[in-house]
Amino acid sequence: MSFIKIFNQLNWDEIKESIYAKTASDVERALMHPVRSLEDFKALISPAAAPYLEQMAALSQRLTQKRFGKTIQLYLPLYLSNECQNICTYCGFSLDNPTPRTTLTPEQILKEVEVIKSYGYDHVLLVTGEANKTVGVDYFKEVLQLIRPYFSHISMEVQPLDRQEYEQLIPLGLNTVLVYQETYHQEDYKKHHPKGKKSNFAYRLETPDRLGKAGVHKIGLGVLIGLEDWRTDSFFTALHLQYLERTYWQTKYSISFPRLRPFSGGLAPKVDMSDRELVQLICAYRIFNEEVELSLSTRESQHFRNNVVRLGITSISAGSKTDPGGYASGQQALEQFEISDERRPTEIVQMIRNQGYDAIWKDWDNVLG
């Protein structure tokens, strides 16, 4: 069985209605339960939980420190290519966006690696658009072999691949794959992805199943906040997480919270999510699941990031460039989206220390598989 069978039994509108129908007493019960169910998660993300935000934050902080201590892990994205055959209405890499396209050569990648290593990073996240012919599994194999000696942990956020393709990449050093569903609203998903392989909702939805079967160490989940009702989308993410944890029990999981950011010529968010609501969501995930890793990118503002590192987040990026070749060239020409927190890694490390936390550069070793 794959997740799609569970997904197909549910109705978006009914789920949405049940979340908005949650009451203060549902929230209070959720906060009191020692182990929280998906119904409790609904209560924690509902409008009824808004007055309980301080209580949720205190609980989230306590649970996070118990499991992860006073530590924040650091990673950096390395954009390899902005070639893409998809049309995504919200993305700077979209096929119909008339921006210059490039895919890094081995020489260019090593130049990027040199800069990233000089910052102190040991965990890198490889990012591409979706151009299977030029940036497919053979390219990824080449890149993994090239950069593995420099990093103890390598993650990828690229197009969904087949199980056999993941099985080829894992022995070459692939540890983690992030694959965001963008939205679990099937009809809107089609509207946002009208062309390209990405328009296949089911193939994307089943990607974590393929990753679990392939035996990858960690799977990152998430939705693009702003495309649809974030509460309903987050419920489906939590449901997906629970299914995956029970099915692929040897795999680790992380959740990210990308809020839709501007890009050159892009779509304005359909749904706004306030900072207060994002804090509610982060805390709700932590209270629902004590072990899941929660990650925050440079999409968010300095002020926001300074404060949420104490509330439940376990990893952040710092000093990110979202254009291929951006670290070595220092240009910002071909970016996927605008970043909001432009501080250098050293400044972020200082900020983490000021909050009473330790910045962790290394938490894996490539000898571990």
Binding site: G69, K70, T71, D122, W249, T251, I360, V367
Partner: protein
């Protein structure tokens, strides 16, 4: 308090410590020094063995700290043996805390892979201290393959729930021929004292110290609790019963006949 011997080493403290979750390397160092611990476990995945300035290793450069590398992160015996060999080479110690937890959510140890790995590692000359469930039969099987100690969990790692496996720990302690180190779940000095009163040879504590508001003070509290618990064990606790023992026994008159 009698010292503890494991393999060829004598420990004057029966409190072993971990290095994760501290808010800084400096705070970790101060807390571990305050704990009096002589055996400190470190995750291979967290240290950069090529770097002399590594934030963890540089704070452990004290003669009283014996390093106990652990294999946290491995999922099977094969990976564990590989990681152990790397740790031995990099950290120049054949001591190893064998951890195989394929389940990343609760970090529960895999008994089958642990036994397989322990057998092979002992043959390769390692001093193996396996992290395991509080399973008395597994402990005996591990003894048979030659481990130097066993490290059963008190409750799930990082949970601070204390000795929820107490009934099994009592059996393990009673029948073990190697030192028993209660590992995982010890969340308060009273839990550590309880383990020592039961007759455990040592306890390993990390989260409860690292995550407390004042790690240095908490480390001292654990030091004292472990010493108190061990002293009580050596002094032999008074028996516990639910019936009253009259100071003038009812049948004493029989002796007068």
């Amino acid at each position: 308090m009698t010292p503890l011997t494991i393999a060829d080493k004598i420990f004057h403290s029966r409190l072993f410590t971990g290095t994760g979750k501290f808010s800084s390397g400096q705070q970790m160092e101060e807390a571990l020094l305050a704990s009096g611990s002589g055996l400190v476990t470190i995750a291979l995945k967290r240290v950069d063995v090529q770097n002399e300035q590594d934030d963890i290793l540089s704070h452990l450069a004290h003669p009283q700290f014996n390093l106990l590398p652990n294999t946290s992160g491995v999922r099977n015996a094969k990976e564990a043996v590989f990681a152990a060999q790397l740790a031995r080479e990099a950290l120049e110690t054949n001591w190893l805390k064998l951890e195989i937890h394929p389940d990343p959510k609760y970090l529960l140890p895999d008994p089958i892979e642990t036994l397989k790995a322990a057998e092979e590692l002992v043959k390769l000359g390692f001093v193996v201290l396996p992290y395991i469930h509080a399973d008395p039969v597994l402990c005996k099987r591990l003894e048979e393959v030659g481990v130097a100690a066993v490290m059963p969990l008190g409750s799930p790692i990082g949970s601070n729930n204390g000795l929820q496996t107490r009934a099994f720990l009592e059996i393990i302690i009673q029948q073990s021929t190697v030192p028993v180190v209660v590992d995982a779940g010890i969340g308060a000095p009273s839990h550590a004292a309880e383990a020592m009163e039961l007759g455990a040879d040592a306890v390993l504590v990390n989260t409860a110290i690292a995550v407390s508001q004042q790690p240095v003070q908490m480390a001292k509290a654990f030091k004292m609790a472990v010493e108190a618990g061990r002293m009580a064990y050596e002094a032999k606790l008074a028996p516990v019963g639910i019936t009253a023992h009259a100071s003038s026994p009812l049948t004493a008159f029989l002796d007068e006949l």
